[in-house]
């Protein structure tokens, strides 16, 4: 068989298929490799918020989902050992003030897998939150929320359904968009 022969003959279908596979398979890999392998989709978004009843980090009473029900609220998981929590700390303080002033939504912190003293020292150094934090020392509530990266923030609407989750330091854009989702305007 010479090259002239093959030039005259139509290209067989299997060669087209092989060519398509050679192009498509690396393309699939290319798309797959741009995705973050550590990203875990949230199971709690669209579902009822996991119930909690935590000891407060400081002060009397309890930090409970029951007390927060009936109003949109924001749950922020934080820890003194979490480096990117420092980045969002001023944003959280500002958001807490807005919540207290507007009264259309509430805020609550969850001190996740931390030591009480370390957490209190951290707040003294970086500024107190204008809202209460519950203590989740063993991280059981974190597992209920499907927490895997710190910090994580959950947005719960007035009917108690989680509408959004934000992984990583909060930004003004993320706050504005997610507050709208739970029907709260700062």
């Amino acid at each position: 068989m010479t090259s002239l022969d093959s030039a005259r003959r139509p290209v067989p279908r299997w060669k087209w298929l092989l060519g398509a596979a050679i192009v498509l398979v690396p393309l699939l890999f290319a798309i797959g490799l741009t995705r973050d392998p550590s990203y875990i989709p949230s199971m709690v978004v669209g579902h009822e918020v996991p119930a909690f009843d935590l000891e407060p980090l400081a002060g009397p009473g309890k930090v409970s989902s029951q007390a927060l029900a009936g109003k949109p609220y924001v749950v922020n998981f934080w820890a003194s050992w979490c480096v990117s929590c420092r980045e969002e700390h001023p944003v959280l303080i500002e958001l807490g003030r807005q919540a207290a002033d507007a009264g259309t939504f509430a805020m609550v912190g969850v001190n996740y897998r931390d030591g009480r003293q370390a957490a209190l020292d951290y707040l003294r150094r970086h500024g107190e939150f204008p809202y209460a934090s519950g203590v989740d020392g063993r991280g059981r509530l974190g597992i209920d929320f499907g927490v895997y990266g710190m910090p994580e923030t959950f947005f719960v609407d007035a009917s108690g359904v989680v509408r959004a989750r934000h992984v990583g330091p909060l930004t003004q854009e993320a706050i504005a968009g997610n507050l709208r989702l739970i029907g709260a305007t700062p």
Partner: protein, 156 residues
């Protein structure tokens, strides 16, 4: 040996035997539970570290998850129930091997499908080649013996 003494001895011996059997049984269920805890934990993926099960991972979250598995095993919950508990929280991500349903089924079926397609293609090509060869051989005079004359005619 007096009679009362023998009776007391018999009762004591029976008690010792019973206590021993009870202890052995409790050790056995504990060992069984721990084996179940290890087997289930080995199937669950640590959410804070990649490609590691919660049994091997040293992270605090993973160790807490193993503790939850241990609690639920001792409560008599089945492996499927415990896996479902974690899937409710972390989704399919938490399973080291994908479930054989939904998108996971595609993951399991793809290698088999590729093998079938590859095998079928190979067979088709093999048969086509064989047909082409016998057709060529037919043109060249069938299965005529290889003579000096024919050898010279072939381009080698």
């Amino acid at each position: 040996m007096t009679r009362p003494f023998a009776q007391v001895a018999a009762v004591l011996a029976a008690l010792f035997l019973l206590a021993g059997a009870a202890q052995a049984a409790s050790f056995r269920t504990e060992a069984g539970n721990e084996a179940a805890v290890r087997a289930i934990s080995a199937r669950l993926r640590c959410p804070v570290c990649q490609s590691e099960n919660i049994l091997d991972s040293q992270s605090g979250t993973a160790r807490e998850m193993v503790e939850i598995v241990r609690e639920q095993v001792s409560q008599g919950r089945s492996e499927a129930e415990i896996v479902a508990y974690f899937r409710d929280r972390y989704g399919d991500y938490v399973m080291l091997s994908p479930p054989a349903s939904g998108f996971g089924a595609l993951v399991w079926a793809t290698p088999l499908l590729l093998l079938l397609i590859g095998g079928a293609t190979y067979l088709v090509l093999l048969r086509r080649n064989a047909r082409a060869f016998s057709a060529e051989a037919g043109e060249a005079g069938g299965r005529a013996p290889l003579t000096e004359e024919r050898l010279e005619g072939l381009e080698l």
